[in-house]
């Protein structure tokens, strides 16, 4: 069986976790991988917990179930910890990336004894500094690429630049902020 990288995203409706999972799928696709990016649709409303998933592989992926034993978990909103079992099934040779101003040691006690890698990134602060608003998904995307070693960081940055140039063709003024958010996040993620 070939190795498939499986990632689960936890966020709240409106924070862009689904979009981030699709951007990650895009970036991996552009490096020649087979990808899946899909959300688990619940009662869709702003603020409700949502889950999204990624599978990334060198060979075609046929499994179409949700992911129950992810290699990595991304928590876009730290207030979900406690009400959502974010480490459920998470592999101990993988890791979790949490959007928080706290250090990995400070959040560890809330993770039910999870023994794998715990990483934190202050995505809110980075987003507010670079974009003027709290859009945590862009920095979280960069953090998971770094933590899970999804692809070469330089290649990722280059790919995202092209992707944003296309996505924000009508508002190029936001491209620089988004790129800065990605770069800062890759440098500032703690617990590697």
């Amino acid at each position: 069986m070939s190795k498939v990288l499986e990632i689960r995203w936890h966020g709240r409706g409106g924070q862009g976790a689904k979009t981030a999972s699709l951007l990650l799928a895009d970036a991996a696709f552009n490096t020649g991988k087979y990808i899946q990016g899909f959300p688990e649709y619940g009662p869709e409303r702003m603020g409700a917990p949502i889950t999204a998933y990624n599978r990334i592989s060198d060979t075609p992926i046929t499994v179409h179930s949700n992911i129950y034993e992810p290699d990595y978990v991304v928590v876009v909103d730290e207030t979900l910890i406690g009400s959502v079992d974010v480490t459920a099934g998470l592999k101990e040779d993988g890791g979790i990336v949490i959007n928080t101003s706290k250090s990995p040691a400070e959040v560890a006690p809330k993770l039910k004894g999870y023994a794998g890698k715990i990483c934190t990134i202050d995505a809110k602060e980075i987003s507010e500094a670079c974009l003027g608003k709290n859009f945590p998904n862009t920095p979280m995307l960069a953090a998971i690429v770094k933590v899970a070693n999804v692809m070469d960081p330089g290649e990722f940055i280059k790919d995202m630049e092209d992707s944003f140039a296309h996505k924000f063709a009508s508002k190029p003024q936001v491209i620089e902020g988004n790129m800065n958010a990605l770069k800062r996040s890759m440098e500032e993620v703690k617990g590697l």
């Binding site: 799928a25 895009d26 899946q36 990016g37 046929t62 179409h64 179930s65």
Partner: protein
């Protein structure tokens, strides 16, 4: 040159629609198929197609508009799901009996109630006797490929029947995956022009479509309709062969996965087939002779071919993502066991109803089905035919 891309199932079908550039698309939005007409509407407004897009006020009207346009001589398409398909019901039969090869992207979703927007096959299974050809697909790639082939199949002079391209709501419609897209020019050449023998906008040969058909002729028309469905099987294979030569992607009436020496097998539709293939690979790695049949063409049903494909298998599980409430088994089970009648007594068959209303289908659960089949193959005993998988009870 084919293009490597990554798209959701809905996007892929909308792209196929753009490449086909039909005369008329009439649609009404319903989750999870909404994106198909939504993407297509943007192709219309961007001038990428010259289709007449008719944003109707209901699905009944969508199918009615398709019927009118197709009867006039146009190539016509739509998309819907669940209750939208249910609201089309009356008109589905009229499209089929009027021999109008409309193409419908049927994005499978549970038919209410209770109200649910997620995937199962209760919508299209309910329409299985409406006279439409039904083709099911595992992935965005198959949804796209089947949609393009559907046009050729339905419009063939020996067939002239409408076709549903069925694929799983959300699981396929909303998941972004890799896909190989055909060149626009290749799709255009493959589907060709719609050139019906009879149509309303033909002043030199006036016809009536849909008039009262009383006892002297109605039965003959239904007999011809049944013949068209019988003819469709050959045409589906011919179109698949031509498609294979063009794209290298092979399609049949069903896909046999590791069936050559299989002793136990699962028969399944759509995206779950992919998940089950992963389970088959795992079992094979452990020396278990497991196989899988993914039914692609449900209408017409490949009766003889399924019977042949399962003749050496000791135990079979037929998986239904819809219940038929006959207190005996789901619709696919009923078809498969009927097909096996010729080999009655030699193959043990059980049924599982699974995944209703979007209940996720896990690899472990599918593995438990194969474990049950191993037990049946070994003992030759079936303790329960009609079963449920992944339900709390």
């Amino acid at each position: 040159m084919a293009k490597r891309d990554r798209l959701s199932g809905n996007e892929a079908v909308a792209v196929a629609m753009r490449q086909i550039n039909p005369d008329v698309v009439a649609a009404f939005p319903i989750t999870p198929s909404t994106e198909v007409p939504q993407y297509f509407a943007s192709f219309v407004s961007d001038g990428q197609v010259d289709t007449e897009f008719v944003p109707v006020e209901s699905e009944h009207s969508a199918m009615s508009a398709c019927i009118g346009a197709q009867a006039a001589g146009g190539r016509t398409m739509t998309a819907t799901s669940a209750n939208g398909l249910a609201l089309m019901w009356e008109m589905l039969y009229i499209a089929a009996s009027s021999r109008l090869p409309i193409t419908l992207a049927a994005v499978n979703r549970a038919l209410s109630g209770p109200i649910n927007i997620h995937n199962d096959h209760s919508d299209t299974m309910g329409a299985r006797d409406s006279g439409w050809i039904q083709i099911y697909g595992e992935s965005n790639q198959e949804a796209y490929d089947n949609f393009i082939q559907a046009v050729r199949i339905g419009e063939h002079p020996d067939v002239m029947l409408p076709v549903m391209d069925c694929f799983d709501g959300f699981i396929t419609s909303h998941a972004v995956e890799n896909i190989e897209l055909m060149d626009d020019a290749d799709v255009k050449a493959f589907v060709g022009e719609y050139d019906p023998e009879y149509y309303l906008n033909n002043a030199s040969h006036p016809v009536a479509v849909g008039p009262l058909d009383l006892p002297p002729h109605y039965f003959e028309h239904k007999r011809q309709q049944a013949q068209a469905m019988m003819n469709a099987k050959k045409v589906i294979l011919e179109v698949a062969d031509e498609f294979y030569k063009l794209t290298g992607r092979k399609y049949g009436l069903f896909e046999e996965y590791k069936m050559d020496d299989a002793e136990i097998a699962m028969v399944v539709l759509n995206s779950t087939a992919g998940t089950a293939k992963y389970v088959v690979d795992e079992l094979r790695a452990n020396g278990v002779k497991a196989g899988l049949i993914k039914v692609r063409v449900f209408r017409p049903f490949p009766v003889d071919e399924i019977c042949e494909a399962l003749k050496n298998v000791k135990a079979v599980a037929v998986m239904d993502k819809a219940d038929s409430f006959n207190a005996a088994g789901g619709p696919l089970f009923t078809e498969v066991t009927s097909a096996l009648y010729k080999n009655a007594g030699t193959v043990n068959v059980i049924n599982y109803i699974y995944g209703l209303g979007g209940r996720d289908v896990k690899t472990d659960e599918l593995k438990s089905v194969y474990t049950k089949l191993e037990e049946i193959a070994k003992t030759g005993k079936v303790d329960s035919v009609y079963n449920y998988l992944g339900v709390r009870e």
